[in-house]
């Protein structure tokens, strides 16, 4: 039965928008948390931690995200963790995001002049306070633009989750395309939603980059 492309069809696609935003937010939040650990490990000065975190970053930057999602989806059950698409996608995206954010923030942390950490250390500040009060506030400014830029990549990247059966924006457009036989219209609407989310973020990221380049 062919359905018409009506208000309901748009609602289905909109619910996909919601799933995409939630998935992106979770991946960004958890990826941010683990990414911070990755960045700290990468700049810890402890050889073993630096090598491990560097290998971790290299793996996730050197393989396609789709493959990472497949590995999470098919790999975790093999390791004895049965997962539904939600969990698999969340874990896959979190790992992916943590590697990328870890690398971006490593760059930010290392761009803070060494004299800053040395001055903080010379005052007796502990590692915790050196990072929190001196390094992070300065690294934050430097990392903000690429971080927002990556969040755009991540939002677009969640569309790959459709392939392992997770219903997000792309997948819901696909469903509507096949029930209404109006693929152009369905994907066109989805495209508009992606654009409406991502374009302002991209612009924002570029504005930040310009601002901080000018100040630097």
């Amino acid at each position: 039965m062919i359905q018409s492309f009506d208000y309901n069809a748009v609602l289905v696609i909109l619910s996909g928008v919601k799933a995409t935003l939630i998935l992106s937010a979770i991946a960004f939040g958890m990826g941010g948390f683990f990414g911070l650990l990755v960045a700290l490990a990468r700049t810890s000065g402890i050889k073993l931690l630096e090598r491990l975190s560097s290998a971790y970053i290299d793996f996730f930057q050197g393989t396609p995200m789709l493959l990472q999602l497949f590995l999470a989806y098919y790999g975790l059950p093999v390791l004895g963790f049965p997962v539904n698409p939600w969990t698999a996608v969340t874990i896959g995206l979190t790992l992916h995001a943590s590697a990328y954010l870890g690398e971006i923030w490593r760059g930010g942390i290392q761009a803070v002049p060494r004299g800053q950490t040395e001055a903080a250390a010379a005052l007796g500040l502990s590692y915790h306070h050196r990072m929190r009060d001196v390094v992070f506030p300065q690294a934050f400014r430097l990392s903000l633009a690429p971080t927002v830029g990556f969040s755009v990549q991540l939002i677009k990247g969640t569309s790959l989750a459709a392939i392992i059966g997770f219903v997000e924006l792309s997948r819901s457009a696909q469903i509507i395309a096949s029930t209404t036989y109006k693929p152009l219209l369905a994907y066109g609407v989805a495209g508009i939603f992606y654009f409406a989310i991502c374009f302002p973020l991209s612009m924002y990221s570029m504005r930040l980059a310009k601002k901080y380049n000018r100040e630097a």
């Binding site: 004299g115 250390a121 306070h129």
Partner: protein
């Protein structure tokens, strides 16, 4: 233990250890390598409380490395450093404790650019000493007055001249009430007209009895303030003597050459 009230005045003819003082810094057989490069060779040095030591020597002779070992900004491979009774180890807690008692002033000021002058001075007392905001701010203002820039308290470092920034850096270190102050060429990055104001601050500090180790090529300062002047070349201390002998009858040929160059510039 301290001599703070005894009216002790440095006397160039008497070794301070003769006065029965425990050294506040003891460095024994210190050796440091950067990879294969032997940067410090068998350094032995004692500094008494309230003593002012100036360290000079050609570029690359290890002056910075030596004072940076004292607060563990550089790690050494061999030897011993004892600061105020605490032996320096690689344990973070021990290192942080020693750093809290040893102030350091850098050539490049290294103020925190995202914090105001006042916040720069308040950070460590609050985080390390657990002072309240009010207390920390009061102490900070006291020392900013001491270095004669209280009116800049709410500015950011980038809005200050080099000389002002360096005086803030000194005030920031003093807010921790350190027992020892280390200076690594504090005037070398300054425009000539600002050198004076920073040196004046350091002289005032010396007059108050602060124990000071200064790497500097300001020979006027060394002559008038130092109890001892140390000359280093190639990672070794080759001369360690009161300023009178250091400047007026240097018997080390390399020191004579060095002084010749310095005084000509």
């Amino acid at each position: 233990m301290t001599d703070k009230d005894s009216g002790f005045e440095p006397d160039h003819n008497v070794s301070h250890f003769a006065v029965g003082k425990e050294p506040i810094i003891t460095i024994e057989d210190l050796n440091k390598w950067f990879g294969d490069f032997h940067a410090l060779k068998n350094i032995n040095l004692q500094v008494a409380e309230r003593e002012r030591v100036v360290i000079c020597g050609p570029s690359g002779s290890g002056k910075s490395t030596l004072i940076r070992c004292i607060n563990h900004l550089d790690v050494f491979q061999k030897g011993r450093i004892v600061v105020d009774g605490n032996e320096l180890t690689n344990v973070a807690r021990n290192v942080d404790a020693i750093r809290a008692e040893v102030g350091m002033v850098f050539q490049q000021f290294n103020l925190f650019p995202h914090l105001t002058v006042l916040q720069n001075c308040m950070l460590a007392p609050m985080r390390v000493r657990g002072k309240s905001k009010a207390e920390a701010s009061q102490t900070a203002m006291k020392f900013l007055e001491r270095v004669r820039i209280p009116e800049q308290a709410s500015k950011y470092p980038a809005e200050l001249s080099g000389g002002q920034q360096q005086r803030v850096a000194i005030a920031r270190a003093l807010c921790m009430s350190p027992k020892i102050m280390l200076f690594d060429e504090p005037t070398s990055a300054l425009d000539p007209e600002m050198v004076r104001e920073v040196l004046d601050t350091m002289v005032a500090l010396a007059d108050e009895g602060m124990t000071m180790l200064c790497v500097t090529h300001e020979m006027g300062f060394a002559r008038s303030v130092a109890d001892r002047v140390i000359f280093m070349t190639a990672g070794e201390i080759v001369v360690d003597t009161p300023p009178l002998e250091f400047f007026d009858s240097p018997d080390n040929p390399r020191l004579r050459e060095f002084l010749g160059q310095i005084l000509h510039n």
